[in-house]
Point group: none
Chain length 200, copies 2
């Protein structure tokens, strides 16, 4: 719903004041700003702004003007479980979620979150306890970091490289962990790591 000239002036003043003070102006301060002599005028303007949806107020509360929250695009993703080198995914029972920066995911694709256990990817700067954001898909490019299932036994996070003879190498990032080399047919990609979240 569009505003009148006067209503826009008042709305702009509210924005300016709240931005500057972190609290809303009183009716009297608005009255002063616009040179009115009656608070009823201020009241009516604010009522109209509220009716049109530009502000929200609480009944009979001081300085209670606020702006309706603009819904930020936030993407809560399910935290499915834990991955470690050579260990199957340990699924979590409860539907825990973690909010992920919208910039991190490609919209329209399935994503989920896993908690990393162990230091098998330490040389890729992924440490124990980090959360990785995974784009769920079944194909990956050479060198991408993937969640891979070997012969339906163990889900691990590794970097994937194609070798000759239709074989693939699952490369950990830790000197003390050996790479896994298998027939491509025995390795199923479950997803590609697209992001990392760490809390200190």
């Amino acid at each position: 719903m569009p505003l009148t000239k006067r209503q826009k002036q008042i709305l702009d003043y509210l924005k300016w004041f709240i931005d500057r003070h972190d609290y809303a102006p009183s009716f009297d301060e608005i009255r002063e700003e616009f040179g009115y002599t009656s608070l009823a005028t201020v009241h009516e303007h604010l009522s109209n702004l509220e009716r049109k949806g530009y502000i929200r107020r609480s009944y009979r509360e001081s300085r209670s003007v606020e702006f309706p929250p603009d819904v930020e695009p936030s993407i809560p993703l399910p935290l499915l479980g834990t991955v470690a080198a050579g260990m199957p995914i340990e699924a979590f029972e409860d539907n825990e979620t973690l909010s992920i920066p919208g910039e991190m995911i490609r919209s329209g694709f399935n994503h989920y979150v896993l908690r990393v256990s162990g230091d098998s990817m330490i040389d890729e700067q992924i440490r124990d306890g980090d959360h990785i954001v995974v784009n769920a898909r079944e194909t990956a490019e050479d060198g991408e970091m993937v969640i891979a299932l070997v012969r339906d036994e163990a889900a691990t996070v590794k970097k994937l490289y194609r070798e000759g003879g239709n074989r693939v190498r699952l490369q950990p990032a830790n000197e003390s962990v050996e790479p896994i080399i298998e027939d491509a047919a025995d390795v199923r990609v479950q997803g590609v790591v697209v992001g990392l979240i760490r809390q200190y």
Copy 2:
């Protein structure tokens, strides 16, 4: 729910005090700060702040004010610039923002995001291009990762350790980078690293 002028002043004092001491002020300290003569006034203000959801308290417990965890799943924070070892912060012009998981930040406190340049923290699993989430404050505990300003010259991200003789050690996490040892008076903490975001 919005605050009145007085309520905001008191909330700001709470934030300042907790940021500085890591514990909440007593009623009497608040009373002193604002020149009241009755604790009942303090009590009523805190009750109002709690009613409006800005703080939480425990019944009959000393210094039990705390800030409720942020309900919003994702908070856009300003991306202020770049930090590197030994290099000043290079500020960005435009007001870029990055959405951060709400779980990562202490609500009620100022946070911002910096892009890490270089590999000086590689042994702490922070790599070139990562984004770190920083809680803006001027004090830090031993061993915390901080943004530190040395003699107003260079802002760096390092781990902070207190040495004897009122000196502090700024410890990088890279063998080829030497630690910096300075008088505590010459080192100003600008913030503490609370989270890390990486995109592949």
